[in-house]
């Protein structure tokens, strides 16, 4: 069995908690993609708070790009 990475485990916890985003009418593909991006940024930041604002700006840009 393939061993889960930390990214896999974090993403899985989001999809599990939201039952694959079944509790919203928002676009599920978009939500999954944003969640993936968010998890990737979190791993990059890795609890170093100084990098958090950079990660937030990148995610904001991703959201504009995705939703516009």
């Amino acid at each position: 069995m393939k061993k889960l990475t930390i990214n896999d485990r974090l993403l899985e916890s989001i999809t599990r908690a939201t039952s694959n985003f079944s509790d919203t009418s928002l676009d599920k593909t978009t939500l999954l993609e944003i969640s993936k991006k968010l998890v990737d940024y979190v791993i990059e930041v890795d609890s170093s708070h100084t990098k958090e604002s950079g990660a937030a700006t990148s995610l904001e840009n991703d959201l504009y790009h995705k939703i516009q």
Binding site: K3, I6, Y41, S47, E52, Y64
Partner: protein, 719 residues
């Protein structure tokens, strides 16, 4: 990760350079009797990695503070001349586990400390030696270029921090006797910190921070754009301004909350340390007060003895003198009686008058008859003849012994005689008094002997404490007083921080409620053009959705981990308690207070569990934490502990050892709970991979071990 070996040279009780232990994976047990070098071995592990040793009462003491006490006494004693060098070193070899993208790496970590002799005075005096700064090296083969590298200083420290992260150290390196305070599950932060380290919970916090920042920015932009389309732009923008104001207030309060929470965590940690130190030092003030109390009692008893002794001596010398003079006094008394009899006989004697003088009877007759009866001539009253006759009256000669001087002597003789009588009556009362004093003195001397035994017991305890802790009683008691002061200050600070944190939380809740109210008011304002799509508004729907869910997930994951720790700890606990029917119930972590409880099947807390029982529960939770760390982080750490089972009985001890053999890839347990005659039986147990026996010996054959000759030896029994 595995610890392959440890080598010791002249480290504390380990003399010379022949001490090496090769560890295996699984459970490695190192046993030996009291003072055989077990704790020093644990110190060696700690020293090589951290350049310090935990000395109870002094807390963490660096090599500088330890000085020549780190160096073996026999080696110091054998030094023959000035400038002699003694090398003390500990070396451990660590193998990391191979991962997907990396091979296993072998690190040789070595710390070395040199002292050189300055003079030939007392070899155990620190002034006799010149000390140096210890050196640390880490040798390994670089995986990128296959070069042999030697890291020193900060580089070496960083490698050690990566290998043995300081956050997890308290759970994998501990001494059993300090366990209660080292890992205090009554403190909410203890489990929280463990969970933060072993899990991804901190990552959810980061995730929440990122998505909340984005949501805040996007929502602000969305409000700005919607304001332009609003039918009542003035009101809408005013509400936006108020929302922004509240958001800024939330941001500030969150920052303050985070800062205060961080400070609270630090202060709580400090309090834990102070509490641990206070607990470890508790014996010092207790023994110190006991010693003072017994000494005061002894002083009082000695004063009583001295007082009685002086009194007895005086009484005895009086009696002795009385006895010595008894014969003379008796003779004197006899003579006095004779004297008195003689005197009385003289007083009673009828004194004779000279023959030519008529007696008073005749003279009175002559005076009455007014006639001289000698010459028969008349002697009329008041005539010359009459007066001549009258003058003959009372002409008795007074005896010499009736003179005033002799009367005085007589009085004194009588007084002396009375005193003699009193003295002879005192013989018996003085004698009884002396006997009573003697009895009282005997009782006091017996009492003093009991108190001397008591003070001996206290002094022995003080000596043992000194051997164990390396600090004397007054220093320990003083440190305890200082720590108590520190504890009070910290406690006050923690209470203030908690009050502030509650205030910030209340402000946050209040601001969030007000924002919801303001947003509700904004939503009621109609837009001029409903066909215009505001992209920020669309994005905010996603950011809000994720922000809400991720803060929920953080809490859920946290609760899930508590469940996992509780479940895993109970598996260990059941395994151990199944062999010891005196321990029952199961472990429950209170979700509100995070206290570790022992409960029955109905979940009600059991009241009768003892320290050993509680220690066992703690150790099961530690096992669970480490086991989950291995699962979550795909990392395994060797578990190294000194005297973890000192509070457990034999059956529970072995069940515990079996349990940890299944939990950790490698564990090194230093324990005194296996006696020399049990070794053969114990080494047969499958779950024990390696067994080593420590013993203190000397080469002189002296039964009594002294620091100049004695040293510890390590014998592999199973390896």
């Amino acid at each position: 990760m595995l610890i392959k070996s440890i080598k010791l040279k002249n480290f504390q009780c380990y003399y010379g350079d022949k001490h090496e232990i090769n560890f295996t994976d699984g459970l490695n047990i190192i046993t030996g009797s009291i003072a055989s070098g077990k704790s020093k071995l644990f110190d060696a592990f700690y020293w090589v990695l951290n350049d310090m040793i935990f000395v109870t009462g002094k807390e963490w003491v660096s090599t500088k503070g330890l000085g020549i006490s780190l160096v073996n006494d026999k080696a110091k004693y054998e030094s023959q001349s000035v400038d002699d060098l003694i090398e003390t070193s500990v070396e451990i070899v660590v193998n990391t586990t191979a991962a997907k993208n990396s091979k296993s790496i072998e690190y040789t970590i070595r710390r070395e400390y040199l002292i050189s002799r300055r003079s030939m005075k007392d070899c155990f005096d620190s002034n006799t030696w010149t000390t140096s700064t210890p050196t640390l090296t880490v040798e390994y083969v670089n995986q990128k270029n296959s070069n042999h590298e030697i890291a020193q200083g900060q580089d070496a420290k960083e490698i050690i921090e990566n290998l043995f992260p300081s956050k997890i150290s308290p759970y994998i390196w501990f001494q059993g006797e300090a366990l209660d305070k080292l890992i205090d599950f009554d403190n909410k932060g203890t489990l929280r910190r463990a969970i933060d380290y072993i899990s991804y919970v901190p990552l959810y916090k980061t995730m929440n921070n990122i998505i909340s920042t984005v949501d805040s920015k996007i929502s602000k932009s969305a409000r700005k754009q919607i304001g332009k389309l609003s039918g009542n732009a003035k009101l809408y923008n005013e509400l936006s301004r108020q929302i922004e104001e509240k958001n800024n207030s939330i941001k500030n309060n969150k920052q303050l909350l985070e800062d205060k929470s961080k400070t609270l965590g630090e202060r709580t940690d400090q309090m834990d340390e102070v509490e641990a130190a206070l607990s470890a030092l508790a014996e010092f003030p207790k023994l110190s007060e006991e010693k003072i109390e017994i000494n005061n009692d002894l002083i009082n008893i000695n004063n009583d003895i001295e007082r009685l002794d002086i009194k007895e001596r005086k009484r005895f010398s009086s009696l002795w003198m009385l006895y010595g003079t008894k014969k003379s006094l008796q003779t004197a008394a006899d003579r006095l009686i004779e004297f008195e009899d003689h005197r009385q006989s003289l007083i009673s004697k009828e004194y004779e008058l000279p023959e030519d003088v008529p007696g008073d009877v005749y003279i009175n007759k002559m005076l009455k008859n007014e006639l001289c009866m000698i010459c028969d001539r008349p002697a009329e009253k008041d005539s010359e003849a009459y007066h001549n006759i009258k003058a003959k009256l009372n002409r008795k000669i007074k005896p010499e012994y009736l003179t005033p001087e002799n009367e005085q002597i007589n009085t004194e003789v009588l007084t002396f005689k009375a005193k003699l009588g009193t003295l002879s009556r005192n013989y018996n009362s003085i004698k009884s008094e002396i006997i009573a004093h003697k009895k009282e003195l005997d009782d006091l001397i017996e009492e003093r002997s009991i108190y001397k035994d008591k003070i001996q017991v206290v002094n022995d305890d003080i000596d043992k404490l000194y051997t164990k802790r390396g600090i004397d009683i007054s220093e320990g008691a003083k440190t305890h007083r200082n720590k108590h002061g520190e504890y009070k200050t910290l406690n006050e600070e923690v209470r203030n921080l908690n009050r502030k944190i509650e205030t910030y939380k209340a402000s946050l809740r209040d601001a969030e409620m007000q924002i919801a109210k303001l947003e509700n008011e904004q939503s009621k304002i109609q837009r001029v053009n409903t066909n215009v799509n505001v992209v920020e508004e669309e994005i905010a729907k996603y950011t809000k959705y994720l922000a809400n869910h991720i803060s929920e997930i953080e809490q859920k994951e946290y609760n899930k981990l508590i469940d996992q720790i509780e479940s895993e700890a109970n598996m260990n606990f059941e395994q151990i308690t199944s062999v010891n029917r005196t321990i029952d119930g199961k472990i429950k972590i209170d979700r509100e207070t995070f206290r570790v409880l022992n409960v029955n099947e109905e979940g009600r807390e059991l009241q009768n569990y003892n320290t050993g029982h509680y220690t066992l529960m703690k150790m099961c939770i530690i096992n669970a934490i480490i086991s989950l760390t291995n699962d979550y982080k795909d990392e395994s750490y060797p578990f190294i502990t000194d005297a973890p089972t000192s509070n457990l009985d034999d059956k529970a001890t072995f069940a515990y050892l079996e349990s940890i053999s299944g939990t950790f890839e490698q564990s090194i347990v230093i324990t005194k709970d296996i006696s020399e005659d049990e070794i053969e039986e114990i080494k047969q147990k499958d779950y024990i991979s390696s067994l080593f026996f420590l013993k203190i010996k000397n080469d002189t054959g002296n039964e009594k071990m002294n620091r100049k000759e004695a040293y510890s030896t390590i014998t592999p029994i199973k390896n």
